[in-house]
C-alpha cells in the first residue's frame, strides 16, 4: 500500500491505496468525487479527463500514486460561489450536453484548449474536442458552446 497526498480543486486530501489503483478510481472511490466519469479505461473516450498540475490529462491511464504531490482540478471545482463557470453556462445555453456522460471530460478538455489557444477557429475547436467522444450531441452544440465561451474566458470573465 502507498500513501497519496494531493490537492483536488484546492483542497488537500490523503489516501492509501495499492500502487495499481488508477487515478480515476482513487478520485471517485477514495475521495468520493464522482463528477469525473470513467468510460473506456484505455485513454480513448476522454470521460475521465482532469486537470493535472494545470494541464488536461486522462486519469484512467495514470496511477493514483503518480499524483502524489500533484494539484488536480475536476468538474466539481468549476463552479464559483454557487454560480456555474462561464464555460458550463455556455454548454447549457448552446445545448452542449444531453445525457452528460462526456460533459466533465469535455469541459476540462475545452478549458485546456481555451487556455492554450484563447480564440480558436471552428476547425481548431473541432480538433480540440476530438479528444473526447460524445454519443449524444453530434458535437455541433459543443462547438457552439466553446466558441461562445472563448471571448468570455479571454476577457477574464
Amino acid at each position: 500500500m502507498v500513501t497519496v497526498r494531493l490537492k483536488v480543486n484546492g483542497v488537500a486530501h490523503e489516501g492509501r491505496c495499492e500502487p495499481r489503483k488508477l487515478l480515476v478510481d482513487f478520485i471517485r472511490e477514495d475521495l468520493g468525487l464522482t463528477g469525473t466519469h470513467v468510460g473506456c479505461e484505455h485513454g480513448i473516450c476522454g470521460a475521465c479527463t482532469i486537470m493535472f498540475n494545470g494541464e488536461a490529462a486522462r486519469s484512467c491511464i495514470m496511477l493514483a500514486v503518480q499524483a502524489d504531490g500533484a494539484e488536480l482540478g475536476t468538474v466539481e471545482g468549476l463552479m464559483r460561489d454557487g454560480k456555474l463557470h462561464p464555460l458550463q453556462e455556455a454548454f447549457r445555453e448552446h445545448h452542449g450536453l444531453q445525457c452528460g456522460f462526456c460533459t466533465p471530460g469535455m469541459l476540462i478538455t475545452a478549458l485546456d484548449l481555451l487556455r492554450t489557444n484563447p480564440s480558436p477557429s471552428d476547425r481548431e475547436i473541432r480538433e480540440g474536442i476530438s479528444a473526447v467522444l460524445c454519443r449524444c450531441t453530434g458535437y455541433q452544440g459543443i462547438v457552439n458552446a466553446v466558441r461562445a465561451a472563448a471571448p468570455i474566458l479571454a476577457s477574464g470573465r
Binding site: 484505455h42 476522454g46 484512467c60 495514470m62 496511477l63 492554450t116 476530438s130
Partner: protein
C-alpha cells in the same frame, strides 16, 4: 479492466532507475507517459513483475541545443515539444508531427522517449526520427550507447533496446534554414493513429533539389526511408513530373500488411497519394 499487481518503483535518479530495471532481468517495464503502457496494463495485455516509473527522474526532461542537434531528454512531454520555441525554430517537422500525436490531453503525459521506445509502426515520431536521420542514447548496466534511427527499429513494437536499457536521449539534427517540410497522414478520425503517414523534407536551390527525405508511418512494421524516391527528386528536380515519379516509386518501396484498419493495397495506394501531397506542400514552403 484494472491493471494486474506489480511492484512499483519511482526512482529520482537515472542510476537508480537503471539499477532497479536491472534487478528484474527483463521482467520489469519502464513507465514513461503511460499513454501506451497503461492501456496495455488495464487490459492485462502486459503483466510485468514491476514498473520502474521515470516520472520523478527530473534530469530526463530537457530540450538542449548542442553540436548542430536538438537533444531531448527521454521524458520530455510531447506537449512541451508542441509549444517549444527551439523546436519551432530548428525542427518544424517535429512540431508539425506532434499535432498528429493523439490529442492535447494525451500529449500532456506522452513523452518523446516513450513514443520512440514503443515503436508503434503507425506513430509519427519514429517516422520523423527516420526522416531526419536522428539517433537515440540508451543507458544500461554497461553504460551508454548511441543507436542510429536506421538500426533502432526491428519490427512491430520492437526496438533493439535491451530489456534492461533505458532510452535517455533523442537527438535530431537541426533542420537547415529555409528547408521545406510536411507531414501528411490519413486517419479516419483526428487523433487516431495514422493508417499511413509520410514525413517529407526538401532542400531546394531553385528547381534543383539538393536533399530530399521521405519516411513512412503505417506502411510496414517499421518506419521506411524511401531512398529510391528521394533519389528521383535529387536527380530530376522538383517539377511535377519528378514528384509524380517519386510518388509512384513510393508505392513500390513500401511493403505494408493488412489489418482491421486497411488492406495492404489501400495502404500502398495511400503511400503514393500522401507522398505527392507531402512533397507538394514541402516544396511550397521551401525557400532557396
Amino acid at each position: 479492466m484494472k491493471p494486474p499487481k506489480f511492484e512499483y518503483h519511482a526512482p529520482t535518479t537515472l542510476d537508480e532507475a537503471v539499477a532497479a530495471l536491472g534487478r528484474y532481468g527483463g521482467d520489469a517495464k519502464v513507465l514513461a507517459g503511460g499513454q501506451s503502457l497503461m492501456p496495455l496494463l488495464n487490459f492485462r495485455l502486459a503483466r510485468p513483475a514491476a514498473l520502474v516509473d521515470l516520472n520523478r527522474v527530473a534530469s530526463l526532461a530537457y530540450i538542449r541545443e548542442q553540436d548542430g542537434q536538438v537533444r531531448f531528454g527521454a521524458m520530455t512531454r510531447q506537449r512541451t515539444i508542441e509549444f517549444s520555441p527551439v523546436v519551432a525554430q530548428h525542427l518544424p517537422l517535429l512540431k508539425e508531427a506532434t499535432r498528429w500525436v493523439g490529442h492535447l490531453p494525451i500529449r500532456t503525459r506522452g513523452t518523446i522517449g516513450g513514443s520512440i521506445a514503443h515503436a508503434d509502426p503507425s506513430a509519427e515520431y519514429p517516422a520523423v526520427l527516420a526522416a531526419l536521420e536522428g539517433e537515440v542514447v540508451a543507458r544500461g548496466a554497461k553504460g551508454d550507447r548511441v543507436i542510429r534511427a536506421a538500426d533502432l527499429f526491428q519490427t512491430y513494437l520492437t526496438t533493439n533496446l535491451a530489456p534492461d536499457e533505458i532510452l535517455t536521449e533523442v537527438r535530431l539534427p537541426a533542420m537547415p534554414a529555409g528547408v521545406g517540410y510536411a507531414l501528411e497522414e490519413f486517419a479516419r478520425r483526428h487523433g487516431d493513429f495514422a493508417i499511413v503517414g509520410i514525413a517529407a523534407m526538401v532542400v531546394r536551390e531553385g528547381q534543383r533539389c539538393t536533399m530530399a527525405r521521405l519516411a513512412t508511418a503505417g506502411a510496414g512494421p517499421v518506419p521506411v526511408r524511401l531512398r529510391a524516391a528521394e533519389e528521383i527528386l535529387e536527380r530530376d528536380g522538383l517539377g511535377e513530373a519528378a514528384i509524380d515519379a517519386a510518388a509512384r516509386k513510393a508505392t513500390e518501396l513500401v511493403d505494408p500488411d493488412a489489418d482491421i484498419h486497411a488492406s495492404a493495397d489501400y495502404r500502398r495506394h495511400l503511400a503514393g497519394v500522401l507522398t505527392k501531397r507531402a512533397l507538394t506542400r514541402a516544396i511550397g514552403v521551401a525557400r532557396g
